[in-house]
Amino acid sequence: MIGCMPIIINFQTLTPGTIIISSLSIIVKGIIFPWLLFRALQEANIKKEIEPVGGYPLSLLMGVVMFGMSFWLSAQLVYTQPLVSYLAAPVSFTTFFIGVFIIVSRRKAITQIIGYLILENGIYLFGLAFLREQSLLVELAILLDIFVAVFVMGIAIFHINRAFDHIDTQKLSELKD
């Protein structure tokens, strides 16, 4: 979905650059990331993926709260230029906050990566909606960075699983003061 956004937003002024970005992010975010994560899941032998710290009702409630907060926050901002859509800012902020919330509230290392990806998607969406003249190279570099990040984190998960026999980050608490 996010991959299609560059094309939809710049529909009038479609350039080869936009199409490349769009197709690459569809491939990376839609195919490679799920594949990497599924592979990590299989290696780590996880049956139940979601174990929120606060329980499901609280998570849902927090989601609603963050949704409201994003709308309020977006209403506070003064926009300098015509908007793509009034929903662009609230949606990207909500995605961002939900990403942060998932990282904080989930125990498994793999759900933390998913949280990181959601957060990154929120930022990416914001960038798409507000910056229409970014150069191709920069976009590609950012995409590459995130790709490598997920790749390295995937390797780390593999090692965590092998060393600890689980990927529960709450038990990663040997180092503290």
């Binding site: 003064v78 300098t80 230029q81 930022i123 970014q134 570099a141 780390a156 180092l175 003061d177």
Partner: protein, 489 residues
């Protein structure tokens, strides 16, 4: 051209190092790369500095200081690493005989060089988005370095480092997008363009952008409330890597914040930013002081001392005026001294095989005599005893603080520094003095009073003392022009 070479040479060497099976060849590669980097750095110094408006990469008055620190530190670290790796080799053979696709040393050497390449790219970036990409790349290049020892604890440290820094840097990316919105999306995000356009920027967006950049890069830099990854990573990483992380990487993250600050100065938001700098600076010093007091692990203690120094530098930049010069000087001093201390800590760790302060006594007697002397000298330098460059830096910051009649800040600054002094003195003195502990199985420990293992930290300490005694005019000029670019004088 030089700039591009400085990034691509370590990068290609790093990639090659992954595939070399011969240890000796790989070590030659590291040394060669550090020498080339050092030569190129001096070429940058020799050449007049001028950043033309449309280049994405280049060095200006501010970044050349950062470049020099990184280059010198890396050369020292490279020399030390050679010795360290050959000692660790024995250690690894004792631990396990398993072999993976790349040997740990190949991964180490490769990532070590990639790390240099990405750090140089951070320093050279004149384009804010490129800067972001480079900072994220430093995280990814250094994560395998922290995991070098393949223990559970180092794995935990690596995971925390990866996740906390990645999230932090993601926030900085949001900050960069905010900055572009504030700039009304005019053209590329080159620093020089942004500074020119700063007057017409949208102030609320710019303020939000600076805050996000500060929090984002501040995480990577180890400022107080976001520093949680730092002690873990610094204590678990091999000492060579800790030295680079602390002496070079934290500065690179600082540069990210400073770029945002330069734009804010041009837009007339100087006082707004300065308040943020001062608050987080003091907070960092305070946090570090509290944690140093009850520390039981000497590498963690050094890590908290890095948090403290980052706090001092931030405070200095926040105060403005001549304190910015002091901050730059303190940064130079901190990088050299802290790297030297981490190298020495590496010697102690190799000899005693423990990171517990209570298990180490009488460094200054017996086989570890030189290491013990260095450890004590390093302590005196890092807390800022007069013949040290750090003393000058702290003193200038303090002077500016009093000059501006900010007595509250002065008081807080002095009290926290005193706490740090007491905490560190207790640790260092108890480690160097006293009766030796009986060691039972130290047959496999290597000789840490080896020439190269003493030479590198010794050289750094001599350098920093000589800066305190004789301050070369060219260095003063360079630091002054850097301070000028950052709202000081």
């Amino acid at each position: 051209m030089i700039t591009i070479l400085m990034i691509t040479i370590p990068f290609s060497f790093g990639v090659i190092a992954f595939f070399i099976r011969n240890d000796f060849m790989r070590r030659i590669l590291i040394i060669g790369c550090s020498v080339i980097h050092l030569i190129l750095t001096s070429l940058v110094w020799a050449k007049c500095l001028d950043v033309s408006s449309n280049e994405w990469l280049g060095f200006d008055n501010v970044s050349i200081i950062f470049l020099t620190i990184t280059s010198v530190l890396f050369s020292g670290a490279a020399v030390y690493a050679i010795r360290y790796l050959s000692d660790e080799k024995i250690y690894f053979k004792n631990e396990d005989g398993k072999r993976s696709v790349f040997s740990p040393e190949a991964v180490f050497s490769g990532c070590f060089l990639l790390f240099l390449s990405t750090m140089t790219m951070v320093i050279a970036s004149q384009h804010l988005a490129v800067l972001w990409v480079a900072v994220e790349a430093t995280t990814l290049a250094s994560a395998p370095l922290i995991y070098f020892h393949r223990t559970k604890r180092s794995l935990e440290a690596t995971w925390k480092y990866l996740l906390i820094c990645s999230v932090g840097i993601a926030i900085a990316l949001l900050g960069i997008f905010f900055l572009a919105v504030a700039n009304n999306n005019q053209g590329e995000m080159l620093l020089i363009n942004m500074i020119e356009n700063a007057q017409g920027m949208n102030i609320p967006w710019l303020k939000a952008a600076f805050l996000l950049l500060f929090v984002g890069y501040g995480t990577k830099m180890g400022l107080a409330p976001f520093h949680t990854w730092l002690p873990d990573a610094h204590s678990e990483a091999p000492s060579v890597v800790s030295a680079l992380l602390s002496g070079a990487l934290l500065n690179c993250a600082l540069l990210g914040i400073l770029r945002g600050y330069q734009i804010c100065i041009a837009a007339g938001l100087k006082t707004y930013c300065q308040e943020i700098f001062i608050v987080f600076g003091l907070l960092s010093i305070f946090f570090a002081a509290v944690f140093i007091l009850k520390q039981t692990d000497y590498k963690r203690m050094l890590a908290y001392s890095s948090v403290e120094h980052m706090g001092i530098i931030t405070l200095g930049i926040g105060l403005g005026g001549s304190a910015v010069f002091g901050a730059m000087l303190n940064m130079l001093g901190h990088s050299l001294t802290k790297a030297g201390l981490f190298f020495t800590a590496g010697n102690i760790l190799s000899s005693f095989k423990t990171k517990k302060i209570s298990d180490i006594r009488a460094l200054i007697a017996g086989r570890t005599r030189w290491t013990g002397i260095l450890w004590m000298v390093g302590f005196l330098l890092i807390i800022g005893t007069p013949p040290s460059g750090i003393f000058l830096g702290k003193f200038i910051i303090l002077k500016e603080c009093i000059f501006q009649r900010r007595y509250g800040i002065t008081f807080a600054f002095l009290i926290t520094l005193a706490i740090v002094f007491i905490g560190m003195a207790r640790i260092f003195i108890s480690m160097t003095q006293g009766a030796p502990v009986e060691k039972d199985n130290n047959n496999n420990s290597c000789n840490v009073d080896d020439f190269w293992r003493i030479f590198v930290p010794g050289l750094f300490f001599v350098l920093i003392i000589s800066i305190g005694i004789y301050f070369p005019a060219w260095l003063a000029r360079a630091l002054e022009s850097a301070a000028l670019g950052l709202g000081g004088f």
